[in-house]
């Protein structure tokens, strides 16, 4: 049924795809920020202050999901300012450029590339370098990891791949799956399995459902 199902893929750019489930999950990730002005009646959200009337004081540190940060962010910094998460900062970028293959992007992501691309929306006038090198850095990271993904996805035939994909970002996992599918389809053809006709999974399920109805 996978061929008849067309999910909306992630946008992977400045704008995410509105209906992409991956992008929706990605934009839930938290982002460190700071309130630039007092936000009345919202202290409840931070778990402090009893009454609903208390406000978030100006300058307090916040952890806000990306979608909210995007909505509140303004280049003139009136409501909130956004900081780069740790993994996109200088120290980690050095680690990435040393050897991108050793990094566990799933633990740090799992939407490392998508999230990093979205961060360009918060380009502050003071630090364009960070935002720019950030994107260049994700590109370099991707390039450096490309060979490993390609090799492992196309050499591992009928093997347990969970160890291979454990450290991959969601984007890389999708890529890995595509590589595996190419290899598997080819191997199936070579063994002559592609010429065997099997019942469609739809029909099989339909038969089961009918049986269940009869039983009930």
């Amino acid at each position: 049924m996978a061929e008849a199902y067309f999910p909306v893929g992630p946008g992977l750019g400045m704008e995410e795809n509105f209906l992409s489930l991956d992008d929706i999950l990605m934009s839930q990730e938290k982002l460190p920020g700071r309130a630039e002005s007092a936000l009345p009646r919202l202290a409840v959200l931070m778990g402090q202050g009893a009454g609903s009337a208390e406000s978030i004081p100006e300058g307090s540190k916040l952890e806000i999901p990306l979608w909210l940060a995007k909505g509140l962010h303004d280049s003139k910094r009136r409501i909130i300012s956004v900081e780069l998460p740790k993994i996109y900062r200088e120290a980690w970028r050095t680690v990435f450029s040393a050897d991108a293959n050793v990094v566990d992007l799933h633990k740090m992501g799992p939407y490392y590339y998508g999230f990093g691309s979205q961060l360009l929306n918060f380009e502050n006038p003071e630090n364009p370098e960070i935002a720019q090198t950030d994107s260049v850095c994700s590109l370099q990271t991707f390039i450096a990891r490309f060979r490993r993904i390609m090799d492992s996805s196309q050499n591992a035939y009928n093997e347990d791949t969970s160890a291979l994909v454990a450290r991959l970002d969601e984007l890389e996992r999708a890529l890995f799956q595509v590589g595996q599918k190419g290899l598997n389809d080819f191997q199936c053809w070579e063994k002559g399995q592609a010429s065997q006709i099997t019942a469609s999974s739809l029909v099989q399920n339909y038969g089961k459902r009918k049986l269940a109805e009869v039983d009930g």
Binding site: L12, S117, L120, S135, L139, I143, F146, L175, G182, F186
Partner: protein, 155 residues
């Protein structure tokens, strides 16, 4: 196109699908193509290992033909097992080469490449993977440009 006329004992050219079908009905004997020969295939394999780029293959469907002929008419092909091994070796060499060149292609962030002597089967096996990877890479790279342009407007 027109086929035939068919006369017993005389060679005639037909499409592969018909040849296989006739063979299964035991109405004919298949003649292996000229290149499907241990000596020639060894030459091709060695040439493939020597060259940096892809060498021309004896047939654009060498993989498909080998598989079909060996599966359905291995009794008509002399030294079928050796041929199978040789073709598989050539395939493996070419795939390793393809991966190597894909890697350097990505590393240098090229935008186009020329792969003249790659066969369809080889392109299809890695094609989706490669195009999707390049698509992702393109998006990551062009992320920068809208950022730059909006930036210049700020100043």
């Amino acid at each position: 196109g027109d086929l035939g006329p068919f006369n017993p004992g005389l060679p005639v050219e037909v499409p592969v699908w018909l040849a296989i079908n006739l063979k299964q009905r035991q109405k004919c004997r298949l003649i292996p193509p000229e290149w499907m020969d241990v000596g020639k295939l060894e030459e091709i394999r060695d040439q493939e290992r020597k060259e940096e780029t892809f060498t021309p293959m004896p047939s654009p469907y060498y993989m498909e033909l080998t598989k079909l002929l060996l599966n359905y008419a291995s009794d008509n092909i002399p030294r079928a097992d050796e041929i199978r091994t040789l073709v598989k070796d050539t395939w493996d060499t070419r795939m390793a080469k393809l991966r190597l060149s894909a890697d350097s292609f990505v590393r240098q962030q090229e935008a186009h490449a020329k792969l003249d002597n790659l066969t369809l089967m080889e392109i299809n096996t890695t094609g989706t993977f490669l195009t999707q990877a390049l698509d992702d890479m393109y998006k990551l790279r062009t992320n920068l440009q809208p950022g730059e342009s909006s930036h210049s407007q700020d100043f």
